[in-house]
Symmetry: C2
Subunit: 119 residues, 2 copies
DNA sequence: TTTATATTTAACCTATTAGTTAATTAACCG
DNA sequence: CGGTTAATTAACTAATAGGTTAAATATAAA
């Protein structure tokens, strides 16, 4: 697997079950079986254990010990890293997009697609 | 594969090569071979074609046609969707985190871990 | 000590990912 | 036309993801 932090985090969130688990944890700590409950009909307990392991490796959750339970809790730091990475691209879904697009059009017209061709 | 938009987008960014391609595209359109150049020593052209296909399916890029070139350009909308999803969790990497943490501690002390156990 | 609950591990299966090389398609250029 | 460049497709491979069932482990409770 891609071992860099950002890759682990993005990949972990690339699964709807794991995102749902995070949503649940954002409402408070929960044991593994509590987290598994909404998915009982769709998958087994070991499947949930594996999903939690992925989230743990990405640093998105931590697991404690309470008797036979393993209370999980959300850790937001990796989410912040993602958010910071995305921030770079904010312009691409906001107003300044139009300006950039205009600039590129000018470039391509000017000297035979200078920025598209190379060699 | 997980076909929902958000999963496709997160999964697409879970690879450092694809993130690097997006970074490059944020500086302007580029043909496939221009995008491939920084990775020539690490992987072949078809590998890049495949990465671009993943980005395309996630809606993160669009490919045009200019003679034999296929100028790629960044599309930020899916990034916005991700950013919006992450926004839910902003509190978990900011000040209010402490307040919530405190609240959970109180709950667990109060009545024998009422919020951790169930059954 | 036995039993029940919570969770994990082991072993296995199948589909997908991420890469490869070789061949193909498409468009330009002399 | 014949050659060159750009990009894709095909066919293949190895590793990983995501699931399964059955067995093991840990703790509590009767």
């Amino acid at each position: 697997m891609n071992q860099d932090q950002l890759s682990l985090t993005f990949a972990a969130l690339g699964d709807p079950t794991r995102r749902a688990i995070l949503v649940r944890l954002s409402k408070g700590e929960a044991s593994v079986s509590e987290l598994a409950k909404p998915f009982m009909s769709e998958m087994s307990a070991p499947a949930i254990t594996k999903h939690l392991k992925v989230l743990e490796k990405a640093g998105l959750i931590t697991k404690g010990r309470e008797a036979q339970w393993r209370p999980c809790k959300l850790n937001g730091e990796p989410l912040k890293e993602m958010s910071d990475w995305l921030e770079h691209y904010r312009q691409y879904w906001e107003e300044s997009f139009d300006r950039l697009d205009e600039y590129l059009k000018t470039m391509t017209k000017k000297k035979g697609k200078k920025n598209v061709r190379k060699k």
